[in-house]
């Protein structure tokens, strides 16, 4: 009964979000020219646009993943939200206004305008697709997890449904509609975290609980945990557990005692039962007690400093390389509006991330069983943990599920628009992309089906961590291209190709290897998992060196182009590349 009311409320909320989005989207659906379709005619007011940028940026990974990381890692996990915010600052300082003036609206377009090289254009197109697909995966899986938690259906059904909805919306609506939808979805997401945080803080302060104790959190009820991915647990204090499955490589079915300070490898498919009030074991390497959870770099994971620096570089420089973020900046009317909306965006992002961080703090008290495995669900389980399974809990659960669904919808549709526009302009024959734009729906399908297919198989990675890996690839490819392309007239096409390939291949390989192989403890394993600290400088270095070596092929009009990029549009130097094309 209680489960049902929560499930019904949540499903209703999810369906409402999808329907409202579709309605707002279809109202804005009056599009003819390429420029209308792809960048909403560039007539979006800067406040509305800031809402849309924030709505698009705050993904399911941010909505679900960050609270889970805060729950486990405490102060250290602050680097994820801070990095996601600071990336906007780097984008604003180095790229936003000049790129807006370039008149290009995708990275391949920018590369073409700056260096006029078909080869470079192809390489950029490939990496836009790779980055976009990798980024879509955790979004689709987040949608699947949301559906699976509120209804009990298998996760892949939710992922498949989410994929189908987004494909249909984008193929039919284009970006004009998406702009309004996303501004709406930002406020929905903010509300969906604000309400549980306020309720949770009131309850927490009323309970007099603090996090300054030298103890691990305790189970609030008798709790059963199903382990789905391999995990090593550390018991700070002795705990009695009833296990059914495989622990430490041997089959078990019955009570075990984990002594203080012991470590246990738990295989997938194992059920663990804990008693009320017992100390919660944590995953190996995470801070084991509340007091050290509050202090930065206090876990026992090796090479934390290196990992943190690498994460900062990836998030800081990666934002400017994300296809949907760049595309969204073109909807500002000029460079000045782009700057203004960036300030509003940062305030909006900061507010949201602080609330999500507080969600993580609350979940350490209210849903500590997530420390054992699967911390992505923290945000979704908090409502019932706060208010119980009655009507109040069901309503709150519905609000949060709607927020998670909005987070998924907004980022995925933005990404898909960017990917489809790249497919239309760069991979389809000229006839298919004429004025009528029959090609766009087809391009959407082509761009969207592969990630949906891959997302049906689950991965064990926290969503926010998975997204951070994509940031590393973006930071190693498009960041050097954009920064050097905008600020250094010595860049050549061969240099750009070599740099993008070097950074992209190294970072993408590292990401794949670290996903396939279980993490070791050496510095090398950390670098595979957080490659940015190596791959970003490498990409810059290769780009500069090869450019210097191929000085002769420097475009003769590079100086003029840079002038055009840095002089405000009222100089009349900018030309809209879309005008050239239509």
């Amino acid at each position: 009964m209680t489960v049902n009311s929560t499930a019904i409320a949540s499903l209703t909320a999810i369906v409402l979000v999808a329907v409202i989005s579709a309605v707002i989207g279809s109202i804005g659906h009056r599009t003819r020219l390429t420029s209308d379709f792809l960048v909403a005619s560039r007539s979006v007011p800067s406040r509305l646009n800031a809402g849309a940028i924030s709505g698009e940026y705050l993904s399911a990974a941010s909505f679900l993943g960050i609270a889970g990381l805060i729950l486990v890692d405490g102060a250290d996990a602050l680097w994820y939200p801070v990095g996601y915010c600071a990336g906007y600052l780097a984008l604003l300082l180095f790229v936003a206004a000049p790129l807006r003036r370039s008149g290009a609206y995708t990275v391949p377009d920018f590369a073409d305008a700056r260096l006029a090289s078909p080869g470079l254009r192809k390489v950029c197109t490939a990496f836009v697709l790779i980055i976009g697909w990798l980024y879509l995966l955790p979004q689709l899986q987040g949608a699947g997890l949301t559906v699976s938690i509120v209804t009990g259906l298998p996760q892949w059904i939710g992922s498949a449904a989410a994929g189908a909805i987004v494909l249909a919306t984008v193929a039919l609506g284009g970006m004009r509609s998406v702009t309004f939808v996303q501004a709406f979805q930002y406020w929905l997401k903010l509300t969906a975290v604000a309400i549980p945080v306020v309720i949770g803080l009131v309850l927490l302060l009323g309970s007099g609980h603090g996090f300054d104790r030298d103890e691990p959190p305790a189970f609030r009820d008798q709790t059963s945990v199903a382990v789905k991915t391999p995990v090593v647990l550390q018991a700070r204090l002795a705990v009695d557990v009833v296990a059914r499955g495989t622990v430490d490589g041997a089959p078990v079915d019955g009570p075990m005692r984990w002594v203080a300070g012991s470590e246990h490898t738990v295989s997938p498919g194992t059920d663990l039962q804990f008693r009320t009030g017992d100390p919660v074991p944590t995953t190996k390497g995470a801070p084991a007690d509340d007091e050290s959870w509050l202090r930065p770099l206090s876990g026992s994971e090796p090479h934390q400093l290196l990992a943190t620096y690498s994460l900062i570089i990836a998030t800081f420089l990666g934002t400017m390389g994300l296809p949907h973020v760049l595309g969204r900046f073109y909807t500002n009317s000029d460079g000045r509006a782009a700057r203004r909306s960036a300030v509003v965006v940062l305030a909006m992002l900061g507010g949201f991330y602080v609330l999500v961080t507080l969600m993580g703090v609350l979940s350490r008290f209210y849903t500590p069983q997530l420390l054992v495995s699967g911390n992505d669900a923290a945000v979704l389980l908090l409502p019932t943990a706060l208010l119980g399974g009655g009507v109040a809990g069901a309503v709150l659960g519905g609000i949060v599920a709607a927020g998670a669904w909005a987070a998924f919808l907004s980022t995925s549709s933005g990404l898909l628009v960017s990917l489809a526009s790249v497919v239309v302009t760069d991979m389809m024959p000229g006839r298919a992309r004429g004025r009528s734009l029959t090609g766009f729906p087809l391009a959407t399908i082509l761009a969207g089906v592969p990630p949906v297919a891959v997302a049906l198989a689950p991965t064990g990675l926290n969503f926010a961590e998975a997204v951070a890996l994509v940031f590393a690839v973006a930071a190693s490819t498009f960041c050097p291209l954009l920064v050097l392309g905008i600020w250094w007239r010595g860049l050549t096409a061969p240099g750009a190709v070599a740099g993008v390939l070097a950074g992209g291949v190294v970072s993408a390989l590292a990401v794949v290897v670290s996903l396939v192989l279980p993490g070791g403890e050496s510095g090398w394993a950390v670098l595979l998992y957080r490659p940015a600290i190596i791959s970003v400088p490498l990409a810059f270095l290769v780009m500069v060196l090869v450019s210097v070596a191929t000085r002769a092929s420097r475009p003769p009009d590079a100086g003029q182009l840079l002038l055009r990029l840095h002089a405000p549009e009222r100089l009349g130097l900018s030309r809209d590349r879309l005008d050239d094309r239509v």
Partner: protein
């Protein structure tokens, strides 16, 4: 994609580029953007360094559950926002007027 011949080629642009006003304009922009980048990078990296080498300092209790490390960590959001506002104010006060002046030069030249 024949973008080369679509680029502005008039000599007036080269002339503007050579003027001291334009150089001063570009210099001003660079003198703001690059030092600002250094400042906030140092601020972020210093936090990590403090956490690693001065954990005692970061663990000092300020009030209840809140320690110095958490305050500085959350302060990163604030500082990011402040730097952004500084930049936008700088751009509107310093860059836009200079650009308007340059525009005058271009229009005179085209006449």
């Amino acid at each position: 994609m024949s973008s080369v011949d679509q680029r502005p080629t008039g000599t007036i642009y080269e002339q503007v580029q050579a003027t001291p006003e334009f150089r001063a304009f570009r210099g001003r922009l660079r003198r703001f953007v690059f030092p600002m980048t250094v400042v906030f990078l140092v601020w972020y990296l210093a936090y990590v360094a403090l956490a690693s080498y001065a954990p005692g300092f970061m663990a000092i209790r300020v009030a209840g559950n809140i320690n110095v490390g958490l305050l500085i960590g959350l302060g990163q959001f604030v500082s990011t926002f402040v730097i952004t506002q500084l930049y936008v104010r700088f751009a509107e006060r310093e860059i836009d007027p200079a650009a308007t002046h340059l525009r005058g030069l271009v229009e005179e030249g085209n006449r």
